[in-house]
């Protein structure tokens, strides 16, 4: 029995109603009774290659419809696929970054079905000899989970994306955009090693972060460069659950909602002593329930066949080593390094690693500076602004150099921290002038010149002889009167400590004269 299924009495399960189960599953992601949940994910990830998997057409699927289409993509007679080596290299990066083994020999197969978004009548994929096998994604406290979990990867296969069917634009017609047809995907198939919706979501986020950092994919669920199918099975006692596939889950929220709804549905059935049939289901986020898409008996027979137009792919150990050497360090290694090399706290390091491009940004800005201060400014001020703007760091105009200049000015006491924040905002708005120029333009330069302050203090004392005499008689509070006036006189550009020192110096000098 695992952590999520705390055992309750055998008689009690009959008292557990469907609604209660569903509620419990949703709120805690856990189930009572002797249920054993197994969740496996299939992630479809669009590779960041300039061209398609088997054609020279641009892989920009969001250009004007049907503009990036070659003869192969449209399935024209006599056109043959040409494997794009860039896609093979990116797929190999995906395999390695997930800890798997790149296969020295891989091969393509045809998966057949008729559909308007499938111009060839088949998809070229890797059913029997995928480019990657094995690997593991480790989840735990760093991902906000209460316990550690290792999700094994079964295989990573390279395949073609389909075209896009567009419904509802023209009455009575389905429009087909072939721009996406043939764009390279990797399908990442996990073992059913997860037990809760939260683990599944953490797994997706972790894979996203790994692939983004390795430059494999944008992994953006909203735009569809990351798509997810989920397999859920709820077993009861010794009986293994039936595997139900949930299709078309296109946000983390939907994934979690669908998994919880499906766990509840299968658990209710199991509690009744029924065994759900293996089937493919969809998820209705409004009702919060999954619904039948198709039963196993009506599942299509894909008639897999070795792809005769594309020879086997053979790669050497040298090539694999070359790909490996160009990978960024693993998140675990980077986390350890940030803590060791820069003295960052666990949380700050994790926050920096969680944002694509932020590690590089941090290291550039922190060079030769107080690293913890740099990290604090990034994780609080910069991330706060990004969240406010709904922006990613990679899309912000802010450069590491600019943040460094702001912090340097602050460190020199050239500006106050409020002004530093204003400078940062200006840079994040796209300000292109340098920090020094901006400080001068705003007249922000802090008056820290002791001689100047002294001169100003003397003038104040001349203007207010009564108050000065009072101080010299022992009225200590008169000091604050002068400090307030002095700070005011500098337009707020003097620091109170510096102003206080200047005033005291001027007053004490008069004591000698008096």
């Amino acid at each position: 029995m695992n952590a999520i299924s705390s055992r309750i009495g055998p008689g009690a399960r009959w008292l557990v109603g469907r609604a209660a189960l569903a509620r419990q599953a949703r709120s805690h992601g856990s189930l009572p009774g002797e249920f054993k949940v197994a969740i496996g994910l299939e992630l479809h990830v669009q590779l960041q290659a300039a061209q398609k998997l088997f054609s020279a057409a641009s892989a920009r699927w969001d250009d004007a419809p049907n503009t990036n289409v070659s003869a192969v993509d449209a399935g024209l007679p006599g056109a043959l696929p040409q494997l794009n080596p860039e896609c093979v290299a990116l797929a190999a990066r995906a395999v390695l970054v997930l800890g798997g083994q790149v296969q020295r020999r891989s091969a393509f197969d045809r998966k057949h079905y008729f559909y308007a978004d499938q111009p060839l009548g088949y998809q070229i994929t890797q059913q029997w000899h995928p480019i990657g096998r094995g690997g593991v994604v480790r989840l735990g406290a760093g991902e906000g989970l209460p316990r550690a979990r290792a999700v094994r990867i079964r295989q990573v296969q390279l395949e073609q994306d389909t075209a896009k069917s567009v419904h509802g634009v023209e009455r009575g017609h389905v429009l087909v955009d072939l721009n996406r047809a043939g764009v390279a995907l990797v399908e990442i198939v996990s073992e059913p090693d997860m037990e809760t919706a939260e683990e599944a979501a953490a797994y997706v986020r972790k894979v996203q972060a790994l692939l983004r950092r390795a430059g494999v994919s944008k992994c953006n669920m909203e735009e569809g460069s990351l798509r997810c199918d989920v397999n859920v099975s709820v077993g009861s006692g010794a009986q293994r659950g039936a595997r139900c596939e949930l299709k078309n889950l296109n946000s983390l929220k939907t994934i979690q909602g669908a998994i919880n709804a499906e766990i509840a549905r299968q658990a209710v059935a199991a509690a009744r002593g029924e065994r759900p049939a293996p089937e493919t289901r969809g998820y209705d986020a409004r009702s919060g329930e999954t619904f039948l898409l198709r039963r196993k008996e009506t599942a299509p027979d894909y008639r897999y066949m070795p792809e005769p137009d594309v020879p086997e792919v053979h790669v050497t150990d040298d090539w694999i080593a070359h790909v490996r050497s160009s990978l960024p360090e693993t998140p675990e290694a980077a986390q350890a390094r940030l803590e060791r090399q820069y003295g960052l706290g666990r949380e700050a390091a994790a926050t920096i690693l969680g944002e694509p491009g932020c590690l590089e940004f941090f290291e550039a800005a922190a060079r030769g500076r107080a690293a913890r201060q740099v990290a604090a400014w990034i994780t609080s001020e910069v991330f706060g602004q990004l969240a406010y703007r709904g922006q990613r760091l990679a899309d912000s105009p802010l450069a590491p150099r600019q943040l460094a200049d702001v912090l340097d000015a602050l460190g020199r006491d050239a500006i106050t921290s409020r002004q530093a924040r204003e400078l940062l905002i200006a840079f994040m708005d796209g300000e292109r002038r340098g920090a020094a120029e901006l400080i001068a333009a705003h007249g922000w330069a802090v008056v820290s010149d002791g001689a100047q302050l002294r001169r100003m203090a003397d003038r104040l004392l001349d203007a207010h002889p009564k108050e000065a005499a009072g101080y010299l008689r022992g009225q200590e509070r008169r000091l604050n009167f002068f400090v307030g006036r002095l700070v005011q006189a500098t337009g707020g550009q003097a620091k109170p400590q510096a102003a206080s020192a200047a005033v005291r110096e001027a007053l004490e000098a008069r004591r000698g004269q008096a």
Partner: protein, 483 residues
């Protein structure tokens, strides 16, 4: 001439400009200057419909030309016509495609063979000097034999398949039909080259490796002795398993005659055994039809080609519950693909299905490898595709041969089928002589057998060599043809 051409119905479409060019500019220095060449209607040209003799592609114009066609034009050939064929190259009669039945110039009312029947008839009748065909299971060699011309299927991968409309991709080869081995060789030399647009086309490196292996045969260097025996040193194998019941007396006679002539040219002729031969035909059909069902899935009428009218989709709808798009596909595919093509797609779909693949598709793949291994065990030249790089040999291993001699067809050309007459099994059996070369991807050539008497129908003798050994094959064929 034109009247004759019309009788034969060998031509699908004529390129008038190319015909004028062919007449006007002979011998300008390029290899095929002044040659009028026809190409089968499943090869894309930039001037004609790539019809494949199918209603589905009757008006389809390809936006690109086949590499083989472009290479012919580059060395001066005028591509003057596309030729009649069986629909999607499925057949051995050229009987019932979009363009109607073609006929054999050797005898009125007879089939030219198929599926490259139009190309063979056009060359035999002198409508062009040479023609391209495609050979998936004998579709170049059979019509060549029946029309009395040379038909050459090069090693799989010698000629790019880019622009050849696929029937069964792992078996399809662009082939040459010509009146002499020398002409066939000239056309082959023009089209056999690496092509990045076909990943199965041999790379320059593989071609060099084959050349190196082929050159390291000391027993061939000793050939061409001064006593006028041009093929001395070459050993020819006669595979006994091809002595089948269906073999006609005339074909058997021609086979014996061919062996005798090769012996007279200096060849050592020996019997060899290829025990898997009897399994080759069913394995061939299983694999070819499986690939065909896959390759022809794209003819749905959505993006190109003919589409059935909406009314036809409504008619299909009455048959059962199909999704909207499937109705359109079913209507188009039912209306636009001929009965033989539909039969082969259905059979191919069946043998690949989850339930049947274990019994049909996968055993056939194993038989294919067995056929390849048996040929590797019989030929003296090592197979360049073998996993371990083979060492050059000092001497021909005992019992090994340089090429095989067998009949191209079991009999002479039959009368052309009546338009509605269907005899599919009979036409499948005819391929028994030719399919092994496609399964193994090795080169094969059909050379006309000398006629016994006036008015005899043509018959072909087939030579088969090891993977990549096209040059030696052509050399032996030339000797056989001249003798």
């Amino acid at each position: 001439m034109l009247g004759r051409a019309a009788q034969l119905n060998a031509i699908a479409s004529v390129n008038v400009r190319a015909n004028i060019r062919a007449g006007a500019k002979p011998n300008a220095g390029r290899a095929l200057d002044g040659w009028a060449v026809a190409v089968k209607a499943n090869l894309a040209t930039d001037w004609a419909a790539t019809s494949c003799a199918s209603r589905a592609l009757g008006a389809y114009r390809s936006p690109f030309a086949a590499t083989a066609v472009a290479r012919l034009e580059r060395v001066g050939a005028a591509v003057v016509a596309t030729t009649n064929m069986d629909e999607f190259a499925m057949g051995s009669r050229t009987a019932a495609g979009l363009h109607g039945a073609a006929f054999n110039p050797a005898r009125a009312g007879h089939s030219p063979g198929g599926s490259s029947g139009g190309s063979a008839a056009a060359v035999a009748a002198g409508l062009c000097r040479a023609a391209l065909g495609s050979d998936t299971g004998g579709s170049v060699r059979l019509p060549a034999a029946w029309c009395g011309v040379v038909g050459f299927k090069p090693t799989y991968g010698r000629v790019s398949r880019h622009g050849l409309v696929a029937y069964a991709s792992s078996l399809d080869a662009v082939g040459v039909l010509a009146r002499s081995v020398a002409d066939a060789r000239a056309v082959y030399a023009a089209i056999a080259a690496p092509d990045p647009r076909d990943m199965t086309c041999m790379s320059p490196g593989l071609r060099r490796r084959i050349d190196a292996l082929a050159a390291a045969r000391p027993w061939l260097a000793a050939a061409a002795e001064p006593d006028g025996r041009p093929l001395a040193g070459i050993r020819i194998g006669v595979p006994r398993e091809f002595w089948v019941d269906e073999l006609s007396p005339a074909a058997l006679d021609a086979w014996r005659g061919g062996a005798a002539r090769l012996a007279a040219l200096g060849c050592d002729v020996v019997a060899v055994s290829l025990p898997s031969t009897r399994h080759a035909l069913p394995a061939y059909y299983t694999l070819a039809l499986a690939e065909a069902s896959s390759n022809l899935a794209r003819y749905d009428g959505i993006r190109f080609g003919a589409r059935a009218p909406a009314a036809a989709a409504a008619a299909v709808a009455r048959h059962g519950r199909l999704a909207n798009a499937s109705l359109k596909y079913a209507a188009t595919r039912s209306a636009m693909l001929g009965s033989e093509v539909q039969r082969r797609i259905l059979l191919g779909t069946y043998v690949m299905g989850a339930a049947a693949a274990e019994h049909y598709y996968r055993p056939s793949q194993r038989i294919r490898r067995l056929v390849q291994r048996e040929l590797d065990a019989v030929f003296a030249l090592p197979n360049a595709l073998a996993a371990s790089a083979p060492l050059p040999l000092d001497a021909r291993p005992p019992g090994r041969v340089d090429a095989l001699l067998l009949p191209t067809a079991t009999d002479t050309a039959p009368p052309q089928c009546a338009p509605d007459d269907e005899c599919p099994v009979a036409s499948y059996v005819n391929d028994v002589m030719t399919v092994a070369a496609n399964l193994a991807g090795v080169p094969a050539i059909s050379v006309p057998a000398p006629p016994k008497g006036d008015g005899d129908m043509p018959l072909g003798l087939q030579l088969v060599a090891q993977y990549g050994d096209d040059d030696l094959l052509l050399r032996i064929a030339r000797g056989l043809e001249a003798a």
